[in-house]
């Protein structure tokens, strides 16, 4: 009996090497901290993402030269941005919009849609702003990238509609790395380097 118990203990430990569940359930798929850098290859171009600074729990990220204000909350990552529409040559400011960028933690099968409507009155006219975001999350498995093989990825598909303009973006996130692959139209980014201070 004692020998049987010992054998069972050893077998359970050895079999543990191939389980991915704890990695998926316990890892951070959106690590964010000042000084983090991601370098991507997009055809012959290089793309960069870095975290510039942090103020009041809002991280200032620069993605391919464009600044973003990112906030992490208990249910996900939010993008805070000033929504401005040009109307008759003038800028109509709708203020800061807080938009869910990623639901976290990722759970395969999650699917959500959020719609925001805004109105501003300008020179007797009503200016509408319609924003809609649809996000689906699927387990993405292993990806082979220039950075190396990354396991247990999640594939996030984001469909963003802004006053009739639709953008479809596919992104893949890896445990403790964050974004590792991105596809928008014909352009595909793949991670080549990642550094964290």
């Amino acid at each position: 009996m004692a020998r049987l118990v010992r054998i069972l203990l050893i077998l359970a430990l050895v079999s543990g090497c191939s389980f991915s569940t704890p990695t998926r359930f316990a890892s951070d798929y959106f690590p964010i901290g000042v000084g983090m850098n991601w370098k991507f290859q997009a055809d012959s171009l290089e793309k960069y993402i870095y975290v510039d600074n942090e103020e009041d729990s809002i991280f200032h990220m620069v993605i391919d030269g464009i600044p973003y204000d990112i906030k992490r909350e208990f249910d996900g990552i939010y993008n805070l941005r000033d929504e401005i529409i040009t109307y008759g040559g003038d800028r109509i400011d709708f203020g800061v919009v807080k938009e869910l960028y990623l639901p976290l933690p990722f759970v395969s099968g999650d699917s959500l849609r959020d719609t925001l409507r805004f109105k501003e009155f300008y020179s007797g006219d009503t200016i509408d702003l319609y924003l809609s975001i649809s996000i689906t999350v699927r387990y993405g498995g292993t990806l082979s990238l220039p950075y190396g093989d990354v396991r247990d990825t999640y594939h996030v598909r984001r469909k963003f509609i802004r006053n009739g303009d639709t953008t479809l973006v596919d992104e893949w996130y890896a445990p403790n790395l964050g974004l590792v692959k991105r596809k928008e139209g014909e352009e595909i980014w793949v991670l080549t380097e990642f550094s964290s201070p």
């Binding site: 009996m1 004692a2 203990l9 359970a12 704890p22 359930f25 759970v107 395969s108």
Partner: protein, 140 residues
């Protein structure tokens, strides 16, 4: 002698990144069957539930008591079956094992009153997450 133990346990865990929960605690009930000479077998049901996100863990645990009197020292392995329910309709499940050592303090009244203290390490090559379980219960 066989002792059947029923306990309520709670744990402190570093297994879930702190961004997801303000306090990494989980709680649940545990049924243990202790055959003093060779075996400590337990089934635990633990549950995280916060802000619409649920994680259920069903632990099937087997251990081998090294010391068998007032203090039971039980190195053990658990096979955990996890179910995650996301906020937006997603659902995932999977198995993973972990290893731990459990110290069980048995006060030999009738019924038994016992205290559980268990340190557990999620067994995985890429991460090492500690979970410390505290439990209190009674047995017969």
């Amino acid at each position: 002698m066989i002792i059947l133990l029923l306990s309520w346990e709670f744990s402190l865990s570093s297994a879930i990144p702190s961004g997801y929960f303000s306090q990494n605690t989980q709680s649940g009930v545990s049924f243990s069957l202790v055959y003093e000479k060779y075996l400590d077998f337990g089934i635990n049901f633990v549950n995280f539930s916060k802000e619409g996100y649920n994680l259920f863990i069903y632990k099937f645990e087997i251990g081998y008591p090294l010391k068998k009197d007032f203090l039971h020292i039980v190195p053990s392995v658990s096979l955990n079956y996890c179910v995650r329910e996301g906020r937006y309709g997603g659902k995932e499940n999977g198995f993973y094992p972990d290893v731990g050592i459990r110290f069980k303090f048995l006060i030999r009244t009738k019924p038994y009153i016992f205290l559980n203290l268990k340190f557990e390490e999620v067994f995985n090559g890429s991460i090492g997450s500690d979970i410390t379980y505290f439990g209190i219960g009674f047995g017969m």
